[in-house]
């Protein structure tokens, strides 16, 4: 049931999966890249330029069986190097939110997938999960449950700790927000190491909720976040390099 719909298939046929976010394709490769990477980058630049005509992309998407809305969603995401620290290529979804068609398509793809599946809970992880979760919840007739950093929720909460690179953090959910037996999806903009999503899964499972799927716009597969999710499937629209 896991399907990875990756825009990069348009630009590079064989694995390994590398970023083909069209915005990045137009950049000059950074001198931080190793020799291995720079060869791949050259190929990426060439084929991305060739694939930049909309009609070619649509045709490629259909042949691939890929949803034709994906390339526009992928190319609307801005990559910001060295944020929040050197070496990280930050996936900025705020530019997706400025593209009304891409944002609508993103929500539509999730809604089409989850409508009519008996899902009564859409849980969204603070803060970018709050942007994608509620429109999905409204469209499929589910509750929206925010999963928040400590001390933000005013009522009685349950919390779950998870590891950071240095130290730990917690996410919290209101007691009584969900009931045992409910079927839930968990939304965030991106899955990296999977720590936050894994904590969200644990929190919901502790109160007897069934996680139908985790859904993110972007996955950074090198960070192997998928492996932390246990039995919960992961659905994503776009994959990208972590650094």
């Amino acid at each position: 049931m896991q399907s990875i719909i990756c825009s990069h298939h348009l630009c590079l046929a064989p694995p390994p999966t590398v970023l083909c976010n069209r915005l990045l394709c137009h950049r000059v490769p950074s001198i931080r890249l190793t020799n291995h990477r720079s060869a791949t980058t050259s190929l990426r630049l060439f084929t991305c330029a060739a694939a930049s005509k909309k009609s070619e992309i649509m045709a490629a998407a259909k042949e691939d069986g890929q949803d034709p809305r994906i390339p526009k969603i992928a190319s609307s995401i801005r990559v910001i190097p060295d944020f929040p620290k050197p070496g990280i290529m930050f996936q900025d979804i705020t530019t997706l939110l400025l593209d009304t068609e891409a944002f609508k398509d993103t929500i539509d793809i999730f809604v089409e997938r989850y409508k009519g599946k008996g899902i009564s809970v859409v849980a969204g992880v603070e803060a970018r999960g709050f942007i994608f979760g509620p429109p999905i919840a409204l469209a499929i007739g589910a509750k929206f449950v925010p999963m928040r950093k400590p001390k933000k929720l005013p009522g009685k909460v349950i919390s779950e700790e998870y590891s950071l690179e240095y130290g730990t953090d917690k996410i919290e959910m209101h007691v009584g927000a969900v009931e045992p037996g409910e079927r839930a999806i968990i939304i965030d903009d991106l899955i990296a190491t999977g720590g936050t999503l894994a904590a969200a899964i644990r929190l919901l499972e502790r109160v007897g909720v069934k996680i139908v799927e985790c859904a993110c716009v972007i996955e950074l597969p090198e960070l192997k976040g998928r492996e932390k999710l246990g039995d919960a499937p992961l659905f994503i629209l776009v994959t990208s390099d972590a650094a």
Binding site: F103, F130, F144, V145
Partner: protein
């Protein structure tokens, strides 16, 4: 201005919205009756009414930007933006937005905070509405208005689900219209 005084008098949706909001006493500190909208988000019908009322109001006003104040503005703004065909622009606490930002400071009860926006998010002459869950003193919304105006955009209205008594009778905030759905819920509506 409150919705009930502005065309929605007696609208049963407003009562449903008000009833769905939970009051949590003494949060974040003693004496504050915190208006908790998470219970509104659990009530699909009432949440839908909330969005529908805002969408009906703004859909024919040529609004091209819906700006939402972190974090509870994010829970309402995007659904409105999608329904009226506008961009959604998050206004965030410092250090969260990855690109080049402009920022505006505003006063808290003790001290200051800052609100940030990406520099390329809005263009001059764009028509903007700014969304938050609740307006109290109006400090945050005023900072948001300043951010928009610094980019040459026009704030058409600020819109909140809940308006504290300080804003009743106040139709404008920093010269901009303010539209509010309900007054704070009382303790006896605690569910």
């Amino acid at each position: 201005m409150f919705a009930a005084e502005n065309g929605l008098k007696g609208d049963p949706r407003l009562e449903a919205i008000s009833a769905a909001i939970r009051v949590v006493p003494n949060f974040p500190k003693k004496g504050i009756m915190f208006q908790d909208i998470t219970t509104l988000l659990l009530d699909h019908k009432a949440f839908k009414h909330t969005i529908d009322i805002f969408v009906d109001r703004y859909k024919d006003m040529q609004i091209s930007v819906v700006a939402g104040v972190e974090a509870r503005g994010f829970m309402f703004g995007p659904s409105i933006a999608l329904a009226i065909g506008a961009k959604f622009v998050p206004l965030r606490k410092p250090g969260k937005l990855p690109g080049k930002v402009i920022s505006e400071s505003y006063e808290l009860e003790y001290g200051h905070d800052r609100l940030e926006m990406h520099v390329d998010a809005v263009e001059p002459l764009e028509r903007v509405i700014i969304i938050d869950d609740l307006v109290a003193t109006g400090g945050t919304l005023s900072a948001a208005i300043s951010l928009m105006e610094s980019q040459g955009a026009e704030v058409v209205e600020c819109a909140c689900v809940i308006g504290l008594p300080e804003v009743k009778g106040q139709h404008k905030l920093k010269g901009k219209p303010l539209y509010v759905l309900v007054e704070p819920s009382g303790l006896d509506e605690f569910c």
